[in-house]
Amino acid sequence: MSVSAHEAAKPGKGFRLDLKTAGPLLALILLVVLGYSLNPAFLNEGNVTNILTRSAFIGIIAVGATFVITAGGIDLSVGSMAAFIAGVMIIIMNWAVGAMGASIWTVLLGVGCSLILGIGAGFINGFLTTKAKIEAFIVTLGTMGIYRSLVTYFADGGTLSLNNGAREIYRPVYYDSFLRIPYPVWVFITVAIIGWVLMNRTAFGRYCMAIGSNEQVARYSAIKVDRVRTATYILQGLCVSLATIIYVPRLGSASSATGVLWELEAIAAVIIGGTMLKGGFGRIGGTVIGALILTSIGNILNLTEIISNYLNGAVQGVIIVAAVYLQRGSLSARRKKAE
């Protein structure tokens, strides 16, 4: 019977698989067409650049989240972590300006701190889930609260602002372009490419999928499950750090409102992209598209008057649920056919 089962899987497979891979891309194209027909300004160079730049924050974080989720974990702390890192960066840069004046070194110091904090925070999440054996949901719910409240405390309930001198030096990182593409977009592209290679062309990516698919099988297959899992959280922390590095020069400030709900947007981007929330199957390309879809929705609502911009979250919610439903639908149809 099993022999026949895989024979049966054959005819439908190519088409279905294509749909599944191309689904998110198709949705994005539809969205672009819709956006353009509602308001041609949607495809202006300025607006496209804007969408891409805005997507970069969530997109970079979501690339990291793709690894965590593929390996069967979840990280709810990324939004708070971003706010926390931004806050500490600003404090340290302000201190450095006071101590030795504003220079390129101030910014580099801030960037270095951000990377260390991101990697450290990721390691803490990973360590607590793997070694202390606490569920990832609980661990990251805890660290989420901790980081959020720390940044509020540092800002004394208000806003931490970057010293103007440093801001001038740092500003181009967000606002300037190379080959007419803003730097944040370049970072996003680079992170996405590296992420794709890691996921699809290295043992690490394969191990993530194996662990998320069945941890026991991974363990019995000589995979160092704890180490790989921890590495996914560190990678996530690193991505949060990179996102924060390009985010800080945008406003030059951080407050308790920084990065609110980023964790959910990142997870949404991952899921819309076709990665399975229960793990075992990750798609970096899908995640990138997912991030673009989320940003485009907000942008279209801004450009048109049909639906209030205040309903942005509602529209995103509908899209997320619909995306997952469609993926499941095509999967089960495929399974039915195969059986």
Binding site: M1, S4, H6, A8, V197, A203, Y207, Q216, R219, I223
Partner: protein, 513 residues
């Protein structure tokens, strides 16, 4: 077999000229099958012969492409999704479908709870559950949680559930595959009790001796065709096996080539202790096949897992080719040339939702790296080699492994284990739940590996298998070595005596602890 079902009684459930295709692929061709009240009817065939599809059709889980089902003298279309249970046709699946955290009583009444309005009548369900369990003569507390029960008891809960549903036909998929000898005996008594009450039993099994003992009639399927339905009295295990594979099955076990007396000692274990086991000592030589026999739960798997570092040992020493080793992680034992093949191929051995290639190379991905990146071509070549070497049959290597037959899964797992080029291989139940033709292939592969100079441990609950393969047999009982048998001593009765605790010793010095 004492009380044969009365052949004059009309069948309670019958299938006429049942065919089934999935897409364009036919899997069953015009099968006739019937079962009478009080009868035990076995369905047997190689993996992929269509047994599971047939029982799915008999229970409504699948609809036939053509043909009819008659139940209680009426032509019926059985409702899907297990609703046929309400009509009295109950399936007990191989993977027992019980919610691990519910109590026994909860499980028996799951989906059919006794209620007063909005509230559950807990006491009544408990009492009824106890009454049903009493009729089965099993001592299971109706308030025990399912996850505290042994597999055998879980199966009894499934049977109790079937009885509570007033089942007229119980269909079982390999009910004894996970039971020990003693549990199987109890299980047979239950079956006889049920048939005496007029319940019809359909069961699938790979164990020919069981079928001879239990079944009134046997239906043999091969490649989706009905080969024969015959009364058991007209059959022998040999004739059944021949009908199954369609050829003569000689040499099920390959000839044994004893390892040299002075062959290098590859693995030496002294006084190994770990959770559930203690005082385990043995040597394994190059070219030797060492059998681990014993009842299920006697600690054989625990020994293997402690050796390879899956569990932490609490005492004793392990020496690999003269070097003391201490593995805390499977990757270390694999690197040292010692590989363990789990018995749980679905839960621990294979990623069921991905294709052949990622499964094959999962343990040895490092071999397929080029400048740090995965080399797909190298992986493909590994798969080609493994498919040839282990005769893995899958038309499309990208099909999820979960869809392969048990035999092909087992061969893939063997391939995966051998990818690490181990010197020492521990195979845990290497032929569980697979058909006799594939078993024979695997036996010959094991013997060939030993002849190549690998040292092999075979853990098996099938005594014939241990006897047919091993140069030396260790029998475990209650987490300890109960005896050691060599050469002509390796016979079923001896192994049984040690396993059941009737006899002790065999290697007194080591077992005294």
């Amino acid at each position: 077999m004492s009380e044969r079902a009365d052949l004059a009684v009309p069948p309670i459930l019958s299938a006429h000229r049942i065919s089934k295709s999935f897409g364009d692929i036919p899997v069953l061709f015009s099968i006739d099958f019937d079962i009478r009240p009080g009868e035990v009817h076995a369905i047997i065939g190689e993996n992929g012969a269509g047994k599971s599809t047939l029982i799915k059709i008999l229970s409504g889980l699948e609809q036939p492409t053509s043909g009819t089902i008659t139940y209680q003298d009426k032509t019926v279309v059985l409702p899907p999704n297990g609703e046929a249970a309400a009509l009295g046709i109950v399936v007990i699946h191989q993977e027992l479908l019980l919610a691990e955290h519910l109590t026994v009583a909860d499980s028996i009444f799951l989906g059919r709870e006794l209620k007063s309005g909005f509230f559950l009548r807990l006491g009544e369900m408990r009492d009824q559950a106890r009454a049903i369990l009493d009729t089965l003569h099993v001592r299971i507390d109706p308030e025990a949680r399912i996850n505290t029960l042994s597999v055998a008891d879980k199966q009894m809960v499934e049977i109790a559930k079937a009885i509570s549903q007033d089942a007229k036909v119980i269909i079982m998929d390999e009910p004894t595959a996970v039971l020990s000898v003693a549990e199987t005996t109890t299980f047979f008594e239950q079956i006889k009790r049920l048939t005496a009450q007029g319940v019809a039993i359909v069961f699938i099994s790979h164990k020919l001796d069981e079928i001879m003992e239990l079944a009134d009639r046997v239906t043999v399927l091969r490649d989706g065709q009905l080969i024969a339905t015959l009364g058991t009295e007209n059959l022998t295990p040999d004739s059944i096996a021949q009908m199954m594979v369609g050829r003569e099955l000689s040499n099920l076990y390959p000839p044994k080539h004893e390892p040299d007396v002075d062959a290098e000692i590859m693995l030496s274990v002294r006084d190994l202790a770990a959770p559930g086991i203690s005082g385990i000592s043995f040597d394994l030589r190059r070219g030797e096949i060492l059998g681990f026999a014993g009842l299920i739960g006697s600690g054989r798997t625990a020994v293997a897992e402690a050796i390879v570092g899956l569990t932490r040992k609490s005492g004793g020493s392990i020496t690999l080719r003269g070097n003391a080793v201490e593995f805390t992680d499977v990757s270390q034992s694999v690197a040292a040339g010692l590989a363990y093949m789990t018995k749980d191929r679905k839960g621990r051995g294979l990623l069921l939702n991905v294709g052949l290639q990622p499964n094959l190379t999962l343990m040895t991905l490092r071999k397929h790296l080029r400048r740090g990146f995965l080399d797909g071509k190298s992986e493909e070549q590994a798969l080609e080699r493994a498919v040839r070497r282990f005769d893995i049959r899958a038309r499309d290597p990208s099909v999820p492994v979960g869809k392969l037959s048990g035999g092909n899964q087992q061969k893939l797992m063997l391939g995966k284990t051998m990818e690490s080029e181990p010197d020492i291989v521990i195979m845990d139940e290497p032929t569980r739940g697979i058909d006799v033709g594939t078993k024979q292939q695997i036996y010959h592969i094991i013997a060939a590996l030993a002849a190549e100079g690998k040292a092999i441990i075979v853990i098996s609950s099938e005594m014939q298998e241990v006897i047919g393969l091993s140069h030396k047999v260790l029998v475990m009982r209650n987490g300890r070595l109960a005896g050691q048998l060599e050469g002509a001593e390796i016979v079923e009765a001896e192994i049984m005596r040690y396993a059941a605790g009737i006899k002790q010793g065999g290697n007194d010095e080591r077992i005294s602890a």
